[in-house]
């Protein structure tokens, strides 16, 4: 239903190791910051101090505070945990579903293939985050619902990709060789076919990470994802937005910048990694 054409909308990859290294270094830093947040953060992320409401940079608070006096640096450091782990979980769910469906569709062909592609078509009929919004409207807001819903929403894309690479792989002689030896279809798929595709699929997933993070942040911003008192970056932007009108820009811009920076870094590194891993464009 969607893209009738397959124009590659991504960057023409020129080898730009400087940017890739910078991006990777930044991401490593973010991961370390998330892991050691309790050691690095000057305050507890939920330490309310109303006497220090909307303080600017410098002084006791390196990045300032939000309306309830919570230290923004501490919150962003802790928030890195949710903001990094949730997209990973989402992609894991989407990959499990998508790879299974895609492999089955490619292997069985016939009506199974048709069924899978019809179901995918229906899901593609929901643009953007609308499918997840429907799920949240039914099951209620929360980070778990968001992750599960997005996992479901991302699965068709992965299934489509897996199906296309699995079809090529399935035509290779080694598959027939195993079959002639009497090996069952499930065993061939699980033990040989999917592992052989793993590199390419992981390459594809890496590129999806940025989008996963953006989608989750958007849901949290709308109040559909992480709930207070979480330090999820999307939620922080929402909480900080009210202060903008009062002239305090940091509460919204600090987490917003964090989201943008991580996604940019991930996209730069991701496209490079996808190329190295041989993901098909």
């Amino acid at each position: 239903m969607t893209a009738a054409i397959t124009v590659d909308a991504r960057l023409p990859v020129r080898r730009r190791p400087v940017l890739v290294i910078a991006g990777a270094a930044f991401l490593a830093l973010v991961v370390l910051a998330a892991a050691f947040a309790p050691l690095l953060a000057p305050y507890a992320p939920d330490a309310v101090d109303l006497s220090a409401s909307l303080v600017g940079t410098g002084g006791d608070h390196p990045l300032g505070t939000d309306a309830s006096g919570q230290d923004l640096l501490s919150r962003v450091l802790y928030g890195a945990r949710t903001s990094l782990i949730a997209p990973l979980a989402l992609l894991a769910i989407a990959a499990l579903l998508g790879v299974t469906l895609g492999t089955v569709a490619a292997w069985r062909g016939g009506w199974v293939d048709t069924l899978v592609s019809r179901v995918t078509d229906v899901m593609y009929a929901f643009p953007g985050l609308l499918f997840v919004v429907l799920i949240i409207a039914v099951f209620g807001a929360g980070i778990t619902t968001s992750v599960l819903g997005l996992g479901l929403a991302f699965a068709p894309t992965i299934a489509k990709y897996t199906r296309s690479v699995a079809l090529t792989e399935r035509a290779k002689p080694y598959v027939d060789a195993y079959r002639v030896q009497g090996m069952g279809g499930v065993r061939i798929c699980v033990r040989h076919l999917v592992p052989n595709l793993a590199r390419s699929i992981v390459g594809y997933l890496v590129v999806l990470f940025g989008e996963a993070l953006m989608s989750l942040a958007t849901l949290s911003y709308l109040g559909f994802g992480s709930q207070p008192p979480s330090s999820d970056w999307g939620l922080m932007v929402q909480e900080g937005q009210a202060a903008i009108v009062q002239g305090a820009l940091l509460p919204a811009l600090v987490p917003g910048t964090a989201i943008a920076a991580v996604v940019v870094a991930f996209n730069v590194v991701g496209v490079w990694a996808a190329d190295r891993l041989g993901a098909r464009r």
């Binding site: 909308a9 929901f126 643009p127 609308l130 709308l222 940019v264």
Partner: protein
């Protein structure tokens, strides 16, 4: 030709039916009694409300009949009553839809002009700093979620510089334009990146064709070659992509309208979900999905008109 259009329309109908069924049947996935769920949860429950819901949704009948009657009602713009606002859902939608439409239209104009312009520029000056600048900037804007971009625009152009109003959709044409500039820009940023890259790639591919080389050897002025031979041939994928992006924008208004406090159908959906007003959420979702499916199908149908080569291919196939 007609057979293929017929097939496309049948596909459109099938997808619309399937998607609307998903939106309808989602009620049954909700934990607990669907009537209670549709009435907005247990805490706001009154017997009158429950009775009204049962009547509106024909909950006593088999699922397929319910779906048929619901669809029939939807087609007659009888979308039930909002529990949050107490209004007819169709009235809510019709009062809020113009803002969303204006926003999407404005954003479309912006991203088409900026995106195609940047893409052509990058392709023409391929390999130069202009190209790198376009590619670099679009990588950056594509990686910023629209709500973050929107917040940044509000912070700088709205609050710091005071050039644009921060909320509301304004009165009259000039007022609307003024109010919607920042939101439209925030929505367009990501799209500009996509369109610029598609345009750039399509132009580069079209520019590599033999007839362009011939035109150049024949001594045609470069701007004419770009306009008549390269851009014309690159137009197919560019227009298609623009159509698809516009279609997707209907859903993109959800975040942007919330950022800028606009009362369109996007913010209506967010409000409805957050206040468990499911009939409203259902109606907005149905409207957005139907709009998206219609526009994408339209784009599909228009594509061969733009590129006669496709028509030739299809009729010979």
């Amino acid at each position: 030709m007609f057979a293929s259009i017929g097939r496309r329309l049948a596909g459109l109908l099938a997808t619309l039916l399937a998607a609307s069924f998903v939106i309808f049947a989602a009620v049954y996935a909700a934990p607990g009694d669907p009537a209670v769920f549709l009435a907005g949860g247990r805490d706001k429950l009154t017997p009158e409300r429950l009775a009204a819901v049962r009547e509106q949704y024909h909950l006593d009948e088999p699922l397929v009949v319910q779906y048929g009657r619901w669809l029939w009602d939807c087609l007659h713009l009888d979308l039930g009553r909002s529990f949050q606002y107490g209004d007819q859902v169709s009235d809510l939608l019709s009062s809020r839809f113009p803002t969303t439409l204006a926003l999407v239209g404005y954003a479309t104009v912006l991203f088409v002009v900026l995106g195609v312009g940047a893409g052509v520029l990058a392709a023409v000056r391929r390999g130069s700093w202009v190209d790198s600048a376009v590619v670099g900037t679009t990588t950056l804007t594509a990686s910023v979620p629209s709500f973050v971009g929107g917040i940044a625009l509000v912070a700088f152009f709205g609050v710091r510089l005071g050039w644009f109003p921060v909320t509301g959709s304004g009165e009259g044409f000039a007022g609307t334009l003024h109010h919607l500039t920042l939101p439209a820009l925030a929505m367009a940023l990501g799209a500009v990146a996509v369109i610029a890259r598609v345009t750039r790639q399509a132009m580069v591919e079209a520019g590599a064709a033999d007839h362009v080389e011939v035109a150049r050897a024949a001594g045609l002025p470069e701007h004419q070659i770009i306009r008549r031979h390269v851009l014309r041939n690159a137009l197919g994928p560019v227009v298609t992509m623009c159509g698809l992006v516009t279609a997707g924008m209907l859903a993109g208004t959800v975040a942007i309208e919330t950022v800028f406090g606009l009362s369109g159908i996007g913010s209506l959906l967010v409000g409805a979900v957050n206040s468990h007003d499911f009939p409203v959420a259902q109606a907005v979702l149905l409207l957005m999905v139907a709009g998206y499916i219609l526009v994408t199908t339209l784009v599909d149908l228009v594509h061969p008109l733009l590129d006669p080569r496709l028509k030739a291919m299809r009729s010979s196939a």
